[in-house]
């Protein structure tokens, strides 16, 4: 199959790169290797939550924070992509979401502190409107509401933690629980069950009525935090109806997988790409790049028992670390699937990790070394192929986990890689 630009990946970087190409009037093909990492960890788009992995002080202005990071670390992927790529990529995403019918908020000017399911404030740059009322910069008391039989959001746990880190004067956090229609002891729900059922008007009104009775005891001006289960497909439809039925501002809090927020976001963006004419190839892991004269001539997809070549003018590899199989970790070596380069070697597998799960992990920084143009670089710093560009988690040398910067990096590198692919 022939293509203009082939984008490989299933995360935010791949989506942004594809959209950038589409908006520039190009004809990208999106090769989607498998389940997206968005399903697991995405709810908000985090650009820079903390300046480093050990700081407890959130970054207030992510734009300024990234600029400082670029100044201090010229090899950081943010520096390679450039501040403009981040700004342009975010503008592109916000415009895209609006065109796709989703309402998102936020900008590089400010991180909002939003509560997580453990009741921990988390700095977030871009977020769906349905999360906005969780802003911990606001003063209204918070009521966190859980559902009997749903253990993936425990309001008592979150409220107890949040009341310690947030709350001065009138601010307070309280936990309530309601029973969903049809609940009986021993029954349990998943986020998907509840999200689907809340799309039903009668079901939702009954839940709203129950919550209203319990939440209002905290006063007229309380806001209600709910697990992110407000509708399976649309981001504001159920949220708006529910809010008006409830009579209090409400906000969603992301839960254990399956993350309904990630599901909604990813499904919508993917479908929108398809609706607007982008070709997608599903569930086909890509491997093996054929390079000659410094150019990548084709890559091969594994599909239904045979190999399927894709010949493109340029390629964007926007794979998210390990989650979608970008890197293959043997016992000692981590190898990339395209050039079969050893990206890291460890005498002992233990070296790949820190003693604590909650510290930066060496393995998370493994990836392609890249040139200034995001081309995968050989040991001597020269590009392995001049028409191939890397975006997202597969770039070496950084771990977005501790700084809460995964989304921003995906956007900046995805957008920049797309620009480079167009110029190649």
């Amino acid at each position: 199959m022939k293509a203009d630009v082939a984008v490989v990946g299933s995360g935010l970087a791949a989506l942004i790169a594809t959209r950038s190409l589409q908006k520039a009037g190009r004809n990208p093909v999106l090769i989607w290797p498998g389940l997206s990492s968005l399903y697991f960890v995405y709810a908000t788009v985090d650009v820079l939550g903390y300046s480093d992995a050990t700081s407890l002080q959130p970054v207030e202005h992510p734009g300024t924070g990234v600029a400082a990071l670029i100044a201090d670390h010229p090899d950081h992927p943010y520096a390679r992509a450039g501040l403009d790529a981040l700004g342009d990529g975010i503008a592109l995403l916000m415009e895209w979401l609006e065109e796709a019918g989703f309402r998102w908020r936020g900008s590089l000017d400010r991180n909002l502190l939003l509560p997580t399911a453990t009741g921990t404030p988390k700095p977030s740059c871009l977020y769906p409107e349905s999360m906005a009322a969780g802003d911990l910069g606001r003063d209204e008391p918070i009521v966190l509401c859980g559902f009997e039989g749903y253990e993936d959001f425990v309001p008592e746990l979150a409220a107890s933690n949040l009341s310690r880190s947030w709350g001065r004067g009138d601010q307070s956090v309280r936990a309530i629980r309601v029973s969903l229609p049809g609940f009986e002891p021993g029954k349990m729900f998943t986020s998907i069950d509840i999200a689907r059922n809340l799309e039903n008007d009668a079901f939702r009104r009954e839940v709203a009525q129950q919550i209203r009775g319990k939440a209002s005891r905290g006063g007229d001006h309380v806001r209600v935090g709910l697990p992110a289960v407000l509708g399976l497909t649309h981001d504001t439809d159920v949220y708006e109806r529910f809010q008006s039925e409830l009579g209090h501002p409400i906000f969603e809090i992301p839960t254990l997988p399956p993350s309904v927020l990630g599901l909604r976001l990813f499904d919508r963006l993917r479908k929108h790409l398809q609706e607007t004419g982008v070709e997608m190839i599903w569930a086909a892991p890509a491997h093996e790049a054929e390079v000659s004269d410094g150019q990548c001539r084709r890559i091969y997809l594994k599909s239904a028992g045979r190999e399927h070549p894709i010949d493109a003018r340029a390629y964007v590899l926007a794979l998210e670390d390990m989650v979608d199989g970008a890197l293959r970790a043997g016992v000692h070596s981590v190898v990339d699937p395209f050039f079969h380069q050893s990206l890291a070697h460890h005498a002992v597998p233990t070296e790949r990790t820190d003693e604590s799960l909650f510290k930066p992990q060496p393995f998370a920084s493994i990836g392609y070394a890249v040139t200034d143009r995001l081309q995968p670089a050989a040991g001597d710093g020269h590009p392995l192929a001049s028409n191939l560009f890397v975006a997202g988690g597969a770039i070496a040398g950084y771990d977005p986990t501790g700084t809460k910067s995964r989304g921003g990096l995906a956007i900046a590198t995805g957008h920049r890689a797309a620009q480079e692919a167009m110029a190649a």
């Binding site: 960890v41 049809g182 390990m322």
Partner: protein, 556 residues
């Protein structure tokens, strides 16, 4: 005056101590067990779970083999729900193995072990996982998997129903005596520091590899040699039946399919202390290489974690006179040997023979107490309750087939999807005072033992600490982090392949979606009253790690 009194104090909450507690209670003797950690948290819970037919010992250690034959048959009667009756293969893959075979066959004959030579073709038909290196095969129907956790919990629960008590996280710090006679033990709660004295007529030291430390409190010596064994857990069963190498027992020559996983065992290295159990890369690598000689799929399966246990090998040389029954375990009568009346130690042995060990030492102590009731542990089943529900055993077969979402409001409820643990399997343990940490819940229910290693269920369990145990958020969050960290320690030695993918999802979930790293940093800061709101009604102020123990303990 002691704070409490009982007939016999049993020290040690492994299979031996639990077996002793049950034996005492069946003979009508009032008993109390103290364990410095959790039940089954020492040697027993870190065994490979092979229910020995005796085949492994029949050449070098005939007496032990014969005990295994008898005890294995008894356990099949009394502890059915703790056993997977898989049968096992003994396979030869080298010339040396073939040379071992005649001795193996002879040993099986002497020990009374059923042993059938089958053709390699027939063996492959039954067990396609057997590797191409396998040259000859014996079928040993009485090998199997013995679940060490359920075994210990089953014994303790059975004893509790007869009035016995078990105290976890309770360390013995000393003894009270009247002349040469023990009159009680002094204990300290390892979490709260609370000290208690327990009056009793006799004490049984069933602490295995730790027996020397307990004996030293009375200035007597019990020579136990701690020998480390490393095990690797594979994410699926790999084979239908256990597989042993038919040779002189060595490293990496056992594969045990155990519930949802397979366990490769084991190594043997003397260690300076039973709690110093480093897992070396060479041990892990060797185990996988050796396992792959016997079964396909060992080297390609996902290695999920590695763990190490310690064998309590008893130094028989100096203690020959203390030995009552067997080369493999010994009952030490400290009155006879050291002039300390009312004190006995039970040392050596292995999980398969725990019941016999318990019987022998209980015989001695019953005699001291003038109790003539004979031992019935070989006849009375562990789960002898009228109710059919067996909380100790989680049975996937009972769960039925989950409904695909779309046609029903709710799915089959599960707290741990990897191990199919239901809420009703977990809930009662939150009411048990012996359960202090989420690891204790794991040992009793298998929650968090599957491929995700508690990434998902840890949050649900933390939630239950708040809702069911009324702990505050920071304490429950710390407990959740502790569970994840304990699981992480076992993951690190086998960190390759899809383990990296799993770790990325776990980190993404806990560090990015929950921001748990910041939550923990925040909690470990010294509390500043200027910044913090007053505690919610009914809550203590959570202050991170220090607050953890007293908070949990206050619920006892």
């Amino acid at each position: 005056m002691p704070d409490t009194t009982t007939g016999v104090v049993v020290i040690g909450g492994g299979s031996t101590g639990a077996g002793v507690l049950r034996d005492l209670s069946l003979r009508g003797i009032d008993a109390l067990l103290v364990e410095k950690g959790d039940l089954a948290s020492g040697t027993t819970g870190r065994s490979h779970g092979l229910l020995h037919s005796g085949g492994r010992y029949c050449v070098n250690d005939l007496a032990a083999a014969i005990e295994c034959v008898e005890e294995g048959r008894i356990l099949r009667r009394i502890a059915k729900t703790t056993i997977e009756d898989t049968g096992g293969y003994f396979v030869s893959v080298s010339e040396e193995d073939l040379a071992w075979e005649p001795r193996f066959v002879e040993g099986c004959g002497k020990a009374g072990i059923t042993c059938e030579r089958i053709s390699v073709e027939e063996a492959r038909r039954r067990e396609p996982a057997l590797s191409k290196h396998v040259r000859t095969v014996f079928w040993i129907p009485e090998d199997g998997h013995l679940d060490p956790f359920y075994l210990v919990m089953g014994n303790v629960e059975s004893a509790r129903r007869r009035g016995a008590q078990a105290r976890t996280y309770t360390e013995v710090t000393g003894f009270t005596r009247d002349g040469n006679r023990l009159t009680g033990v002094l204990t300290r709660d390892t979490m709260t520091g609370e000290e208690t004295s327990i009056g009793c007529k006799a004490v049984i030291n069933a602490t295995g590899a730790w027996a020397g430390f307990v004996a030293r409190l009375l200035e007597v010596e019990v020579k136990v040699v701690p020998v480390k064994g490393v095990m690797v857990v594979l994410s699926h069963r790999v084979a239908h039946a256990t597989i042993n190498r038919c040779h002189k027992p060595g490293d990496g020559d056992i594969i045990v399919p155990a519930l949802s996983v397979a366990i490769l065992g084991t190594t043997s290295a003397r260690v300076p202390h039973p709690e110093v159990l480093p897992i070396e890369w060479d041990e892990v690598r060797h185990m996988i290489e050796e396992g792959a000689l016997m079964a396909d799929g060992v080297s390609t399966a996902r290695a999920m974690r590695a763990y190490a246990g310690v064998r309590p090998l008893y130094d028989l040389g100096a203690e020959a006179e203390g030995r009552e029954m067997s080369r493999n375990f010994a009952v030490i009568d400290h009155e006879e040997r050291d002039g300390i009346a009312g004190f006995a130690s039970i040392v050596g042995g292995k999980v398969t023979t725990y019941r016999l060990m318990a019987e022998r030492v209980t015989d001695l102590v019953a005699r001291w107490l003038g109790v003539t009731t004979s031992c019935t542990t070989a006849e009375v089943p562990l789960n002898d309750r009228d109710d059919e529900l067996d909380q100790l055993r989680h049975r996937p077969a009972q769960l039925g087939v989950p409904k695909p979402h779309g046609d029903e409001l709710s799915l089959q409820p599960l707290v741990c999807e990897c191990e199919l643990v239901r809420p009703q399997d977990v809930a009662p343990w939150f009411e048990d005072a012996a359960v202090r940490t989420l690891e204790d819940i794991r040992r009793r229910t298998r929650t968090g033992m599957g491929p995700c290693q508690a990434a998902i269920c840890s949050y649900r369990l933390a939630g239950r600490l708040v809702t069911d145990r009324h702990q505050d958020g920071p304490t429950a969050t710390r407990a959740m982090a502790d569970l994840l960290e304990t699981r992480w320690r076992g993951v690190r030695p086998v960190f390759w392949g899809s383990q990296l993918r799993q770790a990325q999802v776990t980190a993404g979930l806990h560090l990015e979606l929950f921001n748990l790293d910041r939550q923990l940093m925040f909690q470990s800061q010294p509390p500043s009253d200027a910044l913090l709101p007053p505690p919610l009604p009914g809550e203590g102020r959570g202050g991170g790690e220090e607050a953890h123990a007293p908070e949990v303990a206050s619920k006892r």
